[in-house]
Amino acid sequence: MNSKLATLGLCAYIAVSCLVAFFFPQSVLAFLSVEASLLLLYYVAAPRRVKIFLGALVLVVLLPVLGSVNGYYLEVAIQIGIYVALALGLNIVVGFVGLLNLGFVAFYAIDAYLWAIFGSPQANAFIPGGLFPLSPNWFFVFLLLSIVIGALTGALLGLPVLRLRGDYLAIVTLGFAEVVRALVNNLDKPVNLTNGPRGISPISKPPLFFQPLLEFFGLHVTEAKLYPLYFYFLILVLVCTIILVTRRLENSRIGRAWKAIREDEIAAAAMGVPVVRMKLLGFAVGASFASAVGVLFAAKQVFINPESFTFMESIGVLAMVILGGMGSIPGAILGATGVTILNLQLLKGMSLWLNGLRQSGAELTIPLLGSYSLSQLPAQFEPAKYERMVFGLILILMMIFRPQGVLPPTRERKQ
């Protein structure tokens, strides 16, 4: 009875929030409330099947429909997807294995550049024959390849460093990421591999292999409309795959070994866990997730340069994992969604609002302090430019007040 009520409530909420977002496409709040329905789904005590159905309904049908009304929504959803995938990858390393990796973005960068170089004319600069850009069909090959390359680079970096104690490991991974970024930045000579700070463009998008099918059904969608939807579904599939893989690893001897290493490395070794091998595996799996996202990111952006792969990016993803709760899959998803929305919508929204105030030139009168013309608000004061402050606050406050995160890992209930 109770669960029926909950189901009804959920359906009603989803319907209302979607309608609102549909009719007020400019409202950030309306869209936020649609996004919140997924969180609600997680919390409400409805039957599992109902939850999965409603979740799929929101993600597969409602969001894309809303997104085709307002493309910005879809863009936000894609960004969230990218960060969810990255956060889930880092969660394996930091949350499960307990190793602080401060250079996670390096893996993401390496494979983003991999597709950028070969999926654009860039590779012609060092491979003669004018073979490039490769045909878009290669995108999927590179996506698979990136998983292997990511795992290999992860293991390659891990091999020498995994014996280091925790804080040194963190600094080495940071150094590694900085070296990767500096190389990407400077390898435009002597041979032009990466085109340096100017970046690479245009990068091929994935093939529209299903277009004939759409035509067959009489649907004529322009490419400009189709691509955002396409990327949305690609990232959705990728995220779902990553969640599935993570869950399956978590509930296996591998996941248990990871957590045991996190809790007590010596005891884990004494219980028969091959510590170094398991750490390497964790590094490799996390890196392979980031790598796959990297390829997708390059294809979506069309243009990439080293600026997208800074230390701040690594810390941003770390903040997501920590906010959500280390070692928790729902936590990583929530953290990534929350921080991305904060960055893309709330801070930008505040910046716009402040700009509006500034232009209105209204007078703010505070008793005893006199009045202040809002047009005098310094133009430098723009919340959207203070991402670092937000990340920093998240990290400090969470560590002091709630180190286990907003959605800490739950234990298995009785079956």
């Binding site: 591998i254 070994a257 007590d264 070794a269 219980m271 028969g272 866990v273 234990r411 209930r413």
Partner: protein, 259 residues
């Protein structure tokens, strides 16, 4: 044929000779105790035996196989597992998960098997859970399998360590002060459990113990360490009357039975 054979094990930390040529044999079916004053090298011997330390000299043979240079996880796979003096459970994992970690070396599903949830995976996982529950039962922890390890009481945590060590299906079980901090009833219950383990779950037990009532009540053989050297060995009654042992313990009142 001895199950475990240590020959002249020495270990030095800087200027401290922690172990000086310790030899020891353990037969199948035996419960042996390792006693000695604090700092005598008992835990160091355990750490050397389980691969946490490399001995400077000496040989370790387990079932006719040398264990020298093996990593801790390999030694566990070879059939020796242990508990820790200061409890080292995986606190943010459930009781059941703690025991399942102990089975790591016995589970063989490959990565693809795990990702694709192969039939083999399910069979192994179900069997592992069944065995884990059996061990949880054996250590009187049933009903608590889904609690976090850190939520258990002190005595329960000690028992969980034993269950976790048994999960590795060892031939030889090393227990580091298993009854520390327990009252007489709890210690008695553990002694009953240890006797039950021999022959059913493990071939032999070696324990470090300060509680002489436990040592005298349960051991087939007692080895005494002092300043890293083995000063006596024998049947409990012989050892307790050995003048060197009495000297080592002099003034500690340890034989009164409630130390």
């Amino acid at each position: 044929m001895a199950l475990l054979e240590l020959r002249g094990i020495s270990k030095r930390f800087g200027g401290l000779q922690a172990l000086a040529g310790v030899s020891l044999e353990l037969e199948d079916g035996m419960i042996a105790s390792l006693i000695g004053p604090n700092g005598a090298g008992k835990t160091t011997l355990f750490n050397t035996l389980t691969g946490l330390y490399r001995p400077d000299e000496g040989e370790i043979h387990f079932q006719q196989r040398s264990l020298l240079g093996m990593n801790p996880d390999k030694i566990t796979a070879a059939g020796i597992s242990r508990t820790f003096q200061n409890i080292r459970l995986f606190s943010h994992m459930t009781v059941l998960e703690n025991v399942l970690v102990g089975m790591h070396s016995r589970l063989k599903t490959s990565l693809p098997g795990i990702l694709l949830r192969s039939t083999g995976f399910h069979i192994q996982e179900n069997e592992a859970r069944r065995r884990a529950m059996e061990l949880i039962d054996l250590t009187s922890l049933s009903g608590r399998e889904h609690e976090w390890a850190h939520q258990l009481s002190y005595g329960e945590q000690r028992r969980l360590e034993i269950a976790r060590a048994l999960a590795a299906a060892p031939q030889l079980l090393l227990l580091d002060e298993p009854t520390a901090g327990m009252n007489t009833t709890e210690a008695q219950a553990l002694m009953t459990l240890f006797r039950k383990l021999i022959g059913n779950y493990v071939k032999a037990i070696l324990l470090i113990e300060h509680n002489m009532r436990v040592v005298m009540g349960i051991s087939d053989r007692v080895h005494v360490l002092d300043y890293g050297e083995k000063i006596a060995e024998g049947h409990p009654d012989e050892v307790r009357h050995d003048p060197r042992v009495i000297e080592a313990y002099l003034g500690q009142g340890i034989w009164s039975g409630n130390a």
